[in-house]
Amino acid sequence: MVEPLLQLAGVSKAYYGQAVLSDVSFEIAPGEVFGYIGPNGAGKTTTLKILAGLITTYDGVVRIGGVDVKTGRDRAHALIGFMPQACGFQSWRTVESALDTLADLSGVPADVRARRIPALLERFDLLAARGKKVKELSGGMTQKLGLIQALLHEPKLLVLDEPLEGLDPPSRRLLQEVLRERRAAGTTVLFSSHILSDIEDVADRVGILNRGKVATTGSIRDLTRAFGLPPELELAFSVAPADLGFLADPAVIGAGGRAVAERPDAWRLTLATDADPDAVVHALVERTLAGGGRVRKVGVAEPALDDLFARYILESDRAAGLTVPAPAAPAGGPDGN
């Protein structure tokens, strides 16, 4: 087996007696892109700060490239590029001076810096702002700067805390493209998000963090399947068919299916767990057209992150033997009294 590039074993962290991470363990193989998802306050930033050495008081072991970050900080951190959720720069710094210093501190030689910094600025459409003061940049531009500083020394492990937050759609696509390139070049990536679709497009594997506990599995699809979430469809009409009765017809949506109107012309369908979503989509389009309607949008809806979490908590509680028993029958049983 390949030695994991990143390894967390039994990592726990508490603030003032309040547990934030409890016994978090997962591994990331070299070259893997790992999405770390969790709702606000789940402990994502705390985990990533531990990896980056910003938090050093924790229990458990974190190894990067086989080196314990507590005892071999310098060697471990030479391997990592970290983009904090919010990063600050001295108010007098220009974009270029900030990047030059940070690259220098990461050990990038001057001639390489002189080539790489303009190239990265160009790539992220910041070349025109190279002489600007960082404090004069917009939020999204600062975010990109945070990303560039993590890429400067071409680290083996990229750790990005909510890198897509605050970016406009073209920049998001650009970042996803950059992440894919890095993966192709063999870089391992760990990034956090609370938006599932961000992760689904780029991550090989995801870890879900909730209330300080983590579940590692394969892809989002695997997770959805593993947690037994029913497939859901979205259906929107530009012209609604005269008769919408087919939305309740088991012959169309399958036995156990259910349709709920979100708006008069937009529906959300929950199918039975074993239903074939493609067949249902096909039938829905046919029946709409046959009824004189026109379809604006139809497709498989992404499982809401909430559902995944809810299911995850249920599953982990069940695994821990904590399943809530069915409410006890009233004394004397149903036929009592």
Binding site: G53, P84, D104, L105, P109
Partner: protein, 233 residues
């Protein structure tokens, strides 16, 4: 790496002070204001008589007197406030994640501030001497010697104050706390090198005070490094 992290960061700090006009204020505006104050002060005969009787205070002496009470406080406040404000703005996170010795960050700040304030002292005293000479006082070897000695002890005071400021900057989480610590506790700490002399333990000699001062600077720098290395970000 071509340069050491401390030197690289020191260079950056100095560039930063230049860009944020700290240097202009320290090196030009303040000495000019001080000398203006002196000129107004000594032209008022009444005050001059009250101060030094028939003997008028020289500009050089006035500047040295002013700096001896101000330079240390300015240096300590500058370092402490700068460290706290940069930390609260998350500036250090991007440095700390890099494979460097963390103390390089605060040592660079300490050296930059101490150097800036010492240069300010040199400028101010030189300006004082220039004003005296312009007003017809001769520039003697004694004056030169006293000025150098004054500068040496100012440098020691500034270094110690900056080191104390560094320590308070590192342990404080808000600017207000840092300022209060510097003003109330820091002022007293810079008197420490004089204590053995007051108590008669050590001879009243210039070099003894210098030695104790710089030993204390080293202790404060080391303490700051220990605390900063353990800081959580």
């Amino acid at each position: 790496m071509a340069t050491s992290p401390t030197l690289r960061l020191l260079r950056d700090e100095l560039v930063g002070f230049a860009r944020s006009r700290v240097m202009i204020v320290l090196w030009v505006v303040l000495p000019l204001l001080a000398i203006l104050g002196y000129l107004l002060f000594t032209s008022s005969a009444e005050v001059a008589a009250g101060m030094g009787g028939d003997h008028k205070m020289s500009a050089n002496a006035f500047m040295t007197f002013l700096l001896s009470s101000l330079a240390g406080t300015v240096a300590a406040l500058m370092v402490a406030v700068d460290i706290v404000s940069e930390r609260t703005r998350k500036v250090y996170e991007l440095y700390v994640i890099r494979p460097i010795r963390r103390e390089a960050i605060i040592w660079a700040k300490f050296l930059a501030v101490a150097a800036c304030v010492v240069v300010a002292c040199v400028v101010a005293i030189a300006l004082g001497i220039a004003v005296d000479v312009a007003r017809g006082d001769p520039f003697t070897a004694t004056i030169a010697y006293d000025a150098l000695k004054g500068l040496a002890s100012l440098t020691a005071v500034v270094s110690l104050s900056a080191a104390v400021g560094t320590f308070f900057g590192v342990i404080s989480r808000t600017i207000l706390v840092a300022v209060i610590l510097v003003l109330y506790v820091g002022q007293n700490l810079t008197i420490v090198p004089m204590l053995p002399m007051y108590f008669g333990i050590l001879p009243r000699q210039f070099w003894v005070i210098m030695a104790i001062s710089y030993a204390l600077v080293a202790v404060m720098a080391w303490l700051s490094a220990v605390v900063f290395r353990r800081s959580q970000f």
